[in-house]
């Protein structure tokens, strides 16, 4: 049986250049004066009854909007949402709580806000108080509670009655480890009894232990779907990559300005060095074993017979990791014109380096090595980072494809 179907769901918010445009829009001729800002588009999700789906994605990817659409707090701009069964949603803990009222009074209103009847709440009241473990504070005003107690009470009332579909927005990261464990246990018990779970979280452990399936949302669209491990790995790699690029760009300028790293007779000069990923975008953070290209732009200033372009990758302490050049690669030569610019690319099929920081040195020279007629030698022309792409843990600067048989008795 299907618990939830989202078919081609999209949500756009309206952006008006000026508040008066909203007013003008109401007046004839009624032409739209707003710009639709799509936060979700073409989202198709089907959740079977009893299934447990994790929704992962960075802040601003559209996860919260998706949950609001599923719970019916907001309506989709296009497409349709069909739900079957009573929904219990914890989009935010403690909605409806007021600090001046006691725990008991707040449970009443929070429960009613969830659509429960007074007698249902009264019956569940002792269990709610017990689960939240607030003891003698139960009839004291909420303002005297610690924040942990408030969260416990909020979670307790929100999950007091088992819903058919439970929607959790990062609500599990509450309280101490003991209470988190207790919350997870309650959710597992719900699942055993047939509750469908939709779960938004950044916590990989919680996602792995509670969900059968995950979707990754990026910029308002589902970009990955599958088993939690698979999706989480993809997600984490993406995050790490973005963080690393940001960090590296911040320090890159400093690296470039070191004059001592540059030497040569300048008959030809290196104009620029770049790493581009498989999609052709410039990057400074690559996943281990990804396919990349190292792009070197060269300007020729004097008459030259031949020109060799070489690169050398070094690890963070300066050990050579890998180097080669167009001479050894037997790359085709072209006639060289004085004053012209050239580009040379090295395609690296799989950058089999271990995770860590690396730099690239680039050299322009003649024949096979840069000690002879060195035109331009640029040490640390750029820095980049290799990120763990998933798979087994390993250390070191190379990423060897390793498998193991495990112990076998001899």
């Amino acid at each position: 049986m299907v618990a939830l179907v989202l078919s081609n769901v999209g949500k756009a918010y309206r952006r008006y250049a000026h508040p008066r445009d909203r007013l003008l829009e109401l007046l004839p001729p009624r032409r739209p004066r707003h710009e639709p800002i799509w936060v979700l588009r073409n989202v198709d999700i089907t959740v079977q009854s009893g299934e447990s789906l994790a929704i992962v994605g960075q802040n601003g990817a559209g996860k919260s909007t998706l949950l609001k659409l599923i719970t019916g707090v907001t309506k989709p701009t296009e497409g349709a949402v069909h739900r079957h069964g009573r929904i219990g949603a914890i989009l935010e803990l403690g909605v409806g709580f007021h600090p001046e009222f006691s725990g008991r009074q707040n449970i009443l209103i929070a429960g009613q806000l969830m659509g429960l009847e007074v007698n249902e709440i009264s019956r569940a009241m002792p269990a709610i108080a017990e689960f939240a473990e607030i003891g003698s504070y139960f009839d004291q005003p909420l303002r005297t509670y610690s924040s942990g107690m408030q969260l416990r009470l909020a979670f307790s009332v929100a999950t007091a009655i088992r819903p058919d579909i439970l929607i959790l927005d990062e609500a599990l990261a509450i309280g101490d480890a003991y209470f988190q464990h207790k919350c997870a246990a309650r959710i597992r018990a719900f699942r055993r009894d047939g509750t469908t779970l939709l779960f938004v979280s950044h916590d990989p452990t919680a996602v792995r232990s509670l969900c059968d399936r995950a979707v990754l949302i990026e910029r308002g669209a589902i970009v990955q779907e599958g088993p939690p491990d698979f999706v989480l790995e993809h997600y984490n790699a993406n995050i790490a990559r973005r963080e690393a690029e940001y960090r590296i760009r911040a320090v890159e300028g400093a690296v470039d300005r070191r004059p001592a790293m540059r030497s040569g007779d300048r008959k030809a000069t290196i104009e620029g060095v770049d790493i581009v990923d498989a999609a052709g975008a410039s990057t400074r953070a690559v996943l281990s074993n990804a396919s990349i290209r190292i792009r070197v732009t060269v300007a020729v200033h004097a008459a030259l017979e031949t020109l060799t372009v070489g690169f050398l990758i070094r690890d963070r302490v300066g050990n050579d990791a890998f180097g080669t050049n167009t001479y050894h690669l037997a790359a085709p030569a072209v006639p060289l014109d004085v004053g012209a610019r050239y580009v040379c690319e090295f395609a690296v099929g799989a950058i089999a380096l271990g995770q860590g920081h690396y730099s690239i040195a680039v050299a322009l020279h003649e024949s096979d090595q840069h000690l002879v007629r060195n035109h331009d030698w640029w040490d640390q022309a750029l820095a980049f980072e290799v990120l763990h792409a998933g798979g087994p843990h390993r250390i070191g600067i190379v990423d060897l494809p390793v498998t193991s048989t495990g112990l076998r008795r001899l």
């Binding site: 918010y13 309206r14 508040p19 909203r22 007013l23 609001k68 719970t71 019916g72 707090v73 907001t74 309506k75 929904i87 949603a89 989009l91 935010e92 909605v95 409806g96 007021h98 001046e100 009222f101 009074q105 009443l108 209103i109 009613q112 806000l113 969830m114 659509g115 009847e117 007074v118």
Partner: protein, 260 residues
């Protein structure tokens, strides 16, 4: 909408109770303050206008003016409280609307019920005062009910309309109280309509609140029942306001959440 409101009647009831509890939380007299406020109004208006300023309505004694004044002030109080609070109801409860799924129409309903309870308590004090000075008009006072109902419906309709619009056009928030202030003084509450120059009177007739207030003043100062014409006109205007308010709310209910 009615069905979902009925399912959430418990929530509405608790919210109304909470509103009153919250107002006098921690005060020793508690709910008594709800009564002391209108008592204060009656006493002040009576003392100021029968002893200090001593204006006279044609054909009345000292108390007549105070009776006249209180009827108008309390009726206006109901109208202004509803409009003013409905104006901000969605903005103030933005967090509820954005974070939980419940009938949104329960919010204006809670506001209206709270204001009506306030009014009933105030008017009960007014009745006590009338009995005390032996000026209770008798059964004709029952006409208060339809008139007050019309005032409340007019206020709710107008309030929901303005409250919905206020989410999108926040200028209404500060503008409406100013308009209400003018409206108060353009309604014969403090002064009798007789002092209004003749050439302005047709304009005054266009103020639905003026005829509602006048109907109440006539009930309590002269023991006169309102004419059917007055009641029908009022009912029609209240109905139009409610239809307009609900239509605006229903068409924009989904956008309200997105805008908050």
């Amino acid at each position: 909408m009615i069905a979902s409101l009925w399912r959430y009647r418990g929530f509405v009831r608790t919210s109304v109770a909470r509103d009153f509890q919250l107002r006098y939380r921690g005060s020793a007299l508690g709910i008594v303050w709800t009564l002391l406020q209108p008592i204060g109004t009656v006493v002040v208006l009576t003392i100021v206008f029968t002893r200090v300023m001593q204006p006279r309505l044609p054909g009345g004694d000292g108390f007549t003016y105070s009776i006249y004044l209180c009827a108008g002030v309390f009726a206006w109080g109901l109208f202004a409280e509803i409009v003013q609070r409905e104006l901000n109801v969605f903005i103030e409860n933005g967090n509820y609307l954005k974070k939980s799924s419940f009938p949104r129409s329960s919010l204006p309903l809670i506001v209206a019920i709270t204001a009506i309870i306030n009014f009933v308590l105030a008017f009960a004090i007014y009745f006590v005062f009338l009995f005390a000075i032996d000026r209770f008009p008798g059964w004709v006072a029952l006409w208060t009910l339809p008139v007050i109902l019309m005032i409340a419906l007019l206020a709710v309709g107008l309030g929901i309309l303005l409250g919905t619009a206020n989410v999108f056009f926040r200028d209404l928030g500060p503008a409406v109280p100013i308009v209400l202030q003018f409206w108060f003084w353009l309604t014969p509450i403090v002064y009798p309509v007789a002092v209004v120059p003749d050439f302005i009177k047709p304009w005054f007739a266009m103020n639905p609140l003026a005829s509602a207030v006048a109907a109440l003043q006539d009930i309590f100062t002269g023991g006169q029942a309102p004419t059917w014409q007055t009641l029908v006109t009022l009912a029609a205007i209240a109905l139009i306001a409610c239809v307009a308010g609900l239509a605006a709310f229903r068409s924009q209910a989904d956008n309200i959440v997105d805008e908050l």
